[in-house]
């Protein structure tokens, strides 16, 4: 649980004759993490990176088509199952679907550009006003219609001699020119227009219309509105057809895509191998418990024509990591991934996160009402977004912890007291509190600990949690360094800090007096006397400075450990802030309730808005602060991270 799953290094060396079978087997068993082949040592120089199977190219072609179909037809989801269909028939069917889809999309393209043309109101209006005179109606007419840039009068001057009909318009900053001329002037006119950066409105439909225009009156364009409607309707029809087509082929496409992805992955696998003319070499990692079985299977399938070497990973090797946790701890892996995966050699702190994250979160949110709402919210979100399952599970655990802490604090939506009548009937014990010199009798909801009245104790508890948390971090760090570099280094790097710790606690207790009350009394009994503390501090400092040099020296004199501990005061601060806000909202609302019907409505509004805001803050800030305490204060004591995820070669179930 505190270490990633044990994996073994595996090296396979065999005859190329069996490569295909071996790949099939590896893919089927889905336990091998292949390390890309690279020439690291002298003896590896005889190998070259393998080449993908020839079939790969064909598969890739079909796969590209399938993927473009899936994205263009906007198909989502996962294949229901993967049947054993022949790849050739998949290819043929894909080709058919592809051609049909291409036709549909071409038609769609045509009609949507048509709609676009009609949508260009400027063009439309302008075209409607075109009136051609008799000469323009002659049949050998050339037309230029499009946008230009430059001075209209100059353009007109230049064109006048060549053209029988010039219309220059301007609307919405777009300069439009329609120039009709005799065919023999075509080149001259086009040269002039080029000077004015003429760009024709180049839509096939438009062209078609103008083709017809030669010899017929421009009034035809009056029909444009009608044409626009028609194009729109056609477009809708096509869209409907595409959707229908997508639904029809959805299952096939998804299944075929998955199937071919698998085939391509298999065909490309040799790219990760080292090969010679007749042999292949695969290096990788396999979970230790699967190693023996894999070896046996490999030998069976190749009739013993394969050399399998299974060994313990070397000390400085980059070993892929598989988390190894019971189900309840799993959600917190998401928080680890957010930071950095643990490396293979160190203790995996996910379990500690599972223990402390909910405590910190609960202590800060700490309200039965809020906890219930967040619990409901996260349960609902979990249903809506199965992708974020892990995250939400972690928050569900944190919400339950908030409810428990809320019950311990006796807080329900910031309400800590009930009115006298209700208090008496429920048999609550009255308490006298002093508030600005006025004594008041209140009926608090039963609780173990009152956050609002035991601020000092709450602070002490927060700091105590911090001391414990950091101490755990240092001890894990000690074990990590001890395992990897031996006792001496562990003493230098972490032992020194552990020795310094008690003096920091003494400072907090006696000098800063942040730790007070009953917590203070408890700590006083376990803390060694001052001379011992002094010796421990000096010894610890020497170790740290020796181990970490100038950085260690700076950290010691600036009391970085102390500031880390004090940082846990946020456990109290964030919680109190959220409680105060809730109390303010409640007070505001209860004042309004005495003002008749308007007051009651206003009061309810204030309650809803106020508590919603507080709840949003109450989810974000405990999360951020809690995770920060782990990342900054806890992890910096021991964590290196940087591990790589174990990615097995094989069919990815579920998720991906």
């Amino acid at each position: 649980m505190l270490k990633p799953k044990q994996v073994s290094k595996i090296t396979l060396f065999g005859s190329k004759k069996y490569m295909k079978q071996v790949i099939e087997l590896l893919y089927e068993s889905n336990v091998l993490h292949i390390v890309d082949f690279s020439k690291k040592s002298e003896e590896e120089n005889i190998f070259d990176i393998g080449e993908p199977f020839l079939a790969n190219e064909k598969y890739s072609d079909v796969l590209v088509k399938l993927r473009s179909l899936i994205s263009n037809l906007q198909i989502t989801g996962k294949p229901a199952m993967i049947r054993d269909t022949a790849i050739d028939s998949i290819g043929k069917k894909t080709q058919l679907i592809y051609e049909k889809a291409a036709e549909l999309f071409m038609e769609k393209e045509y009609y949507s550009s048509l709609v676009d043309v009609y949508k260009k109101k400027e063009v439309k209006k302008y075209l409607q006003n075109l009136k051609l005179d008799d000469e323009a109606k002659s049949s050998n007419l050339e037309y230029f219609i499009g946008f230009y840039n430059g001075e209209a009068s100059k353009l007109r001057d230049e064109l006048e001699k060549l053209s029988s009909f010039i219309k220059l318009g301007n609307s919405n900053n777009l300069k439009i020119a329609a120039v009709f001329c005799n065919q023999k002037h075509k080149n001259a006119v086009s040269q002039i227009l080029d000077k004015y950066e003429f760009s024709p409105i180049d839509i096939p439909v438009l062209k078609e219309h103008f083709g017809k225009l030669a010899g017929t009156p421009a009034q035809k364009f009056m029909k444009l509105d009608y044409e626009g409607d028609r194009a729109n309707k056609e477009l809708e029809k096509i869209n409907g057809q595409i959707k229908e087509f997508a639904d029809e082929n959805k299952d096939f496409l998804l299944e075929a895509e998955k199937k071919l992805s698998i085939e391509v992955e298999k065909a490309e696998a040799p790219l990760k191998f080292g090969t010679t003319n007749n042999t292949f070499l695969i290096k990788g990692f396999v979970p230790s418990k699967n190693a023996k079985k894999l070896e046996k299977e490999l030998e069976e399938i190749t009739d013993g024509n394969i050399a399998v070497k299974i060994e313990k990973p070397g000390k400085h090797e980059e070993v892929p990591v598989i988390y190894n946790h019971p189900k309840i701890v799993e959600p917190f892996e998401a928080f680890m991934d957010l930071y950095s995966m643990p490396s293979y050699k160190e203790i995996d702190p996910t379990f500690f996160m599972f223990l402390t994250f909910p405590i910190f979160f609960g202590m800060m949110l700490g309200d039965v009402g809020y906890g219930l709402i967040t619990l409901g919210l996260f349960l609902y979100l979990k249903k809506k977004m199965p992708g974020a399952k892990h995250f939400l599970n972690a928050f569900i655990i944190a919400s339950i912890s908030s409810i428990l802490f809320g019950a311990a604090f006796g807080e329900y939506f910031g309400v800590e007291f009930v009115p006298e009548g209700l208090g008496k009937t429920l048999g609550f014990h009255p308490e006298t509190i002093e508030h600005g010199g006025i004594k008041e009798v209140v009926y608090p909801i039963p609780h173990i600990f009152s956050r609002s009245h035991q601020i000092d104790d709450l602070l002490s508890i927060s700091i105590l949690l911090g001391i414990v948390h950091i101490l755990i971090g240092l001890i894990i760090g000690f074990i990590n360094v001890y395992n990897n570099h031996g006792f001496k280094h562990a003493m230098y790097e972490k032992g020194g800090w552990i020795l310094i710790m008690p003096s920091m606690v003494w400072l907090l207790l006696n000098f800063l007096s942040i730790i007070t009350g009953f917590i203070g009394e408890i700590i006083k009994t376990v803390l060694p006397p001052v001379p011992v503390l002094g010796v421990m501090f000096i010894a610890g400092s020497i170790l740290v400075i020796k181990g970490e040099g100038i950085r260690g020296f700076l950290e010691v004199i600036f009391l970085s450990l102390l500031s880390n501990i004090v940082s846990y005061a946020r456990l109290m601060a964030v919680g109190l802030a959220s409680l105060s806000l809730a109390v303010v909202v409640n007070d505001l609302a209860s004042d309004m309730f005495s003002n008749g019907i308007v007051g009651i409505i206003g009061g309810i509004l204030i309650l809803i808005i106020g508590h919603t805001i507080n709840l949003v803050l109450g989810i974000f800030s405990p999360f951020l602060h809690s995770i920060r305490l782990h990342y900054v204060e806890f992890f910096t004591k021991f964590y290196t991270g940087g591990g790589k995820k174990f990615k097995s070669f094989g069919y990815k179930h579920g998720g991906q």
Partner: protein
């Protein structure tokens, strides 16, 4: 309620401790936050480390708060 000047000054001091440290932390975080978001856009895995960097100045507020609590402790009322 009548409060003598000394207590009032302590209260002002406590307020300043929290307020000024919060301003300081905010000024510190603005640059780091912007850079961290930039980093996250480039590389999503940066989130954890970005968050870590961003919240480092935030300890200042906690220190301010602790000072404030210690100051209020001087007034003799909780």
């Amino acid at each position: 309620m009548a409060v003598d000047v000394g207590v009032g000054l302590i209260a002002v001091g406590a307020g300043l401790a929290v307020g000024l440290s919060a301003i300081g932390a905010g000024m510190g975080e603005q640059g780091i936050g912007a850079a961290a978001v930039g980093g996250m856009i480039e590389k999503e895995e940066f989130f954890g480390k970005g968050l870590l960097m961003t919240v480092i100045p935030e300890s200042l507020v906690i220190f301010g708060l602790v000072i404030a609590i210690l100051l209020i402790g001087l007034t003799g009322s909780g």
